[in-house]
């Protein structure tokens, strides 16, 4: 690691905290320059000072630096995002309704498949091979369709809940700000 890498990483680690970070960084640049002038290598210097992360932790602890709060999204950004979300929501809602509609079709089809796998056994004209083939394929396709739809709906519902949660949070913040 070069001196510049070290100082850059130290600054990155400290940038999340309040305090005179520029002064601290300048101090350590001087310290490292001094040690380099004394003939030490960067590896030796890192051994003596610690890695940038370790040194940053010690500095934060020593000077009791407080953590910066995450910056809030500006109001106008939230409004634009909200408008986009509402516009975007319409086709999403349509897709969800279509998917919900098709799930019922799939469930009915799966139930029909399961029934047919038993009904075939009541048809005397059908051969044993036919009965077995129809039973196995009907059951297998019904069950796999149900499993696929279960997972698909699980993820769709999860995404929808996340979207609704974000919408609710944004509206609450906007109304709170107004």
């Amino acid at each position: 690691m070069s001196k510049y890498d070290y100082i850059y990483r130290l600054r990155m680690n400290l940038s999340q905290y309040h305090g005179n970070i520029d002064e601290i960084i300048k101090n350590y640049e001087t310290i490292i320059d001094e040690m380099l002038d004394e003939g030490l290598s960067m590896e030796q210097i890192i051994q003596r000072l610690g890695s940038p992360a370790v040194l940053a932790d010690e500095i934060i602890d020593e000077f009791k630096l407080s953590y910066r709060k995450k910056t809030e999204t500006p109001k106008w950004t939230s409004i634009i995002l909200l408008i986009c979300a509402i516009v975007f929501a319409f086709p999403i809602i349509t897709i969800i309704i279509t998917l919900l509609g098709s799930i019922f079709g799939t469930i009915i089809g799966a139930i029909g498949g399961v029934f047919s796998s038993f009904i075939i056994w009541g048809i005397p004209e059908a051969s044993l091979l036919t009965k077995l083939t129809v039973s196995i394929t009907s059951l297998a396709s019904s069950i796999s369709a149900l499993i696929i739809w279960y997972f698909l709906m699980y993820w769709i519902i999860k995404l929808c809940l996340k979207f609704v949660g974000w919408l609710k949070h944004t509206i609450t913040n906007l109304l709170g700000g107004l």
Partner: protein, 109 residues
């Protein structure tokens, strides 16, 4: 030497050394590491803390006939007062510890 013992006395060692003459950072760390095994980072943090508290001043000086710069530390007037306080506390602590070790008890003075 036990870490906790070192921690408590390092600041006094740094201030005491600075009371005799000016030192630059690396020189101070080398001096302290002659007898104590201390991380350089710890000593630099102590120097920064003392400087922030006003007990120590610093200045950058160019080494003669080179382009190398060094940051020298010297004790301020407040630092001298702090040294006196710490020395008094140290003498008192030294006596208390000695009593505990040799006499197995403490006298109420």
């Amino acid at each position: 030497m036990a870490t906790q013992l070192k921690k408590g006395t390092l600041e006094l060692c740094v201030i005491a050394l600075l009371s005799h003459r000016e030192w630059y950072g690396y020189e101070l760390t080398q001096e302290l590491n002659k007898e104590l095994v201390v991380k350089d980072a710890t000593i630099y943090l102590i120097l920064q803390r003392l400087e922030k508290a006003g007990f120590v001043h610093s200045y950058i000086k160019q080494i003669e006939q080179t382009t190398k710069m060094r940051k020298y530390y010297l004790l301020s007037e407040e630092g001298k007062i702090k040294l006196q306080e710490l020395t008094t506390e140290w003498e008192s602590l030294k006596s208390i510890v000695a009593q505990c070790i040799t006499q197995g008890g403490l006298k109420n003075e």
